[in-house]
């Protein structure tokens, strides 16, 4: 077996998710190559070459792959996929955008967001917002798979794989990049943070998210949000945790003013320790919380910050 892993990268840096995807590839077993596609991605390729278990890193460095648009990325992967039994990517917005194109053009199914490898053909994945876990077996010759990072522990970085360039250049006249507005933050990435503190509609306003910031600073935490908080315009969309937002599984998740709808739970219920702060003692979030504190967040948060 041989596996091609699509590297996840942003701003010239290899994203943490890739080390989790390589771990999933190791669970499948076989030779593992990593594809780095983009423009000016030499540093990404070097970082990918350090991931444990990687045989070689293949680099497609060309302007057509800048911003990793789906059309050229899909076409490139289709060119390369023939040599592999599995193509894997993170279940990130990039992986989700690109991989189904590869599957369709290769006339195979895609297996989305696996959380466990049973064997090289059989995988577990959450369905219905994580309220059921399906075991699916694929008889396709090529398996195209996206990987949920929280399901696999990242591999280490003591490797030294060979780096080779891929000359394939595809055409793209159908799509072009216009602009990008990325959130700037000094805090850890939501998906990778050891501690996450999230606010919901109960926060009342975007201004009040400052109450979470002081605590996040002390704990080195990332800040997340419920969809209601995003919809109300308190915070930007990239902070949404849940079925249709980001999936997190930190050591500690603190939910503040969040009721605990199944769509929110889908994104955080695999956290190791869950704390809920809510004034409604009947709120469903308490059913998944290890430690629940009933009360007004506007009183609790300042006190919590002072006592940490």
């Amino acid at each position: 077996m041989s596996i091609l892993v699509l590297a996840e990268h942003h701003d010239g840096q290899l994203a943490g998710a890739t080390a989790h995807v390589v771990a999933a590839a190791q669970a499948i077993g076989g030779d593992i190559d990593v594809l780095v596609a983009g423009e000016n991605v030499a540093a990404v390729a070097e970082a990918a070459a350090r991931l444990d278990g990687v045989r070689k890193v293949r680099v497609a460095d060309h302007a057509v792959y800048a911003h990793q648009l789906a059309e050229p990325m899909g076409a490139l992967l289709v060119e390369l996929a023939g040599a592999y039994s599995h193509v894997l990517a993170a279940a990130s917005t990039t992986g989700k955008n690109v991989l189904p194109r590869v599957a369709a053009l290769k006339d195979v199914s895609q297996i989305s967001e696996i959380v466990e490898v049973v064997d090289a053909d059989t995988f577990k994945r959450p369905i219905y917002a994580g309220n059921a876990i399906a075991t699916v077996k694929s008889d396709d010759g090529l398996k195209v798979i996206t990987v949920r990072s929280t399901g696999f522990d990242a591999v280490g970085e003591s490797g030294s794989a060979a780096v080779e360039s891929v000359d394939t250049v595809v055409e793209n006249s159908q799509s072009s990049f216009i602009k990008q507005e990325l959130a700037q933050s000094d805090r850890p990435e939501l998906a990778a943070a050891k501690v996450v503190i999230s606010g919901g509609r109960g926060m009342g306003s975007g201004e009040n998210f400052k109450l979470l910031e002081g605590i996040a600073d002390k704990l080195g935490a990332a800040i997340g949000a419920s969809r209601a908080a995003v919809d109300a315009g308190f915070v930007p969309n990239d902070m949404q945790v849940g079925q249709t937002g980001k999936i997190v599984a930190p050591e500690l998740y603190i939910a503040v003013g969040i009721s605990g709808a199944i769509q929110h739970l889908a994104g955080m219920k695999d956290s190791k320790v869950i704390v809920a702060i809510n004034k409604d003692e009947e709120a469903p979030i308490f059913q998944v919380a290890d430690y629940g504190l009933v009360g007004d967040l506007f009183e609790i948060l300042p006190e919590l910050e002072s006592k940490l």
Partner: protein, 249 residues
Amino acid sequence: MKVLVAVKRVIDYNVKIRVKPDHSDVDLTNVKMAMNPFCEIAVEEAVRLKEKGVASEVVAVTIGPKAAQEQLRTALALGADRAVHVETEERVESLAAAKLLAKVVEEEQPGLVILGKQAIDTDNNQTGQMLAALAGLPQGTFASEVVVDGDKVQVTREIDGGLQTVELTLPAIVTTDLRLNEPRYAKLPDIMKAKKKPLDVKSPADLGVEVASRLTLLKVESPAERKGGIKVGSVDELVDKLKNEAKVL
């Protein structure tokens, strides 16, 4: 320009699902079904394009059992002009759905196809991208804004780090994210009118597509339950528990 919208019949998003005792699947008997929430947003966007004079006709399409016609009638009540039902009782994976939709695209020649980003039953998030690949069209997935301008469309996409805007040549495929719009409710007179709108029924065989898939569902289980925790009485107790019991501080 004609706009095609794909709508899927799924379990209502408020329903808590149960796994069948034999672990063969999720139990959907007597469960409330509805249009996938992302598809409601797709229909809304198409109807708004028509109201703005950008779209001339909105066609809704679904693939599924007879009962899925309820969702097509909903789309018609919300403002679609006519509907296409590809009727099958089989389980249809995203790849087969995309192949069927590609055939409908070939027949209908729409300028824009709008799908949901994800069906909340399988949580697959694939069909729109697969359709784009099969139809040879560009895609704007996870859209939070869609602006048609002549023979191009600009799509603002919700990506992990924030927002990205891409420009696509038409015809193109768009998949909706939650913040694209707020869908309207169907009014009673529109629900009545929808009953008279045209609804065309086809079979996968009519479209020349094989629905069977090489993916087998071996087992469906409930996820590991979290055991209920405790309520603490004060911030001091919480901090103490986190430090000394959970050891996460």
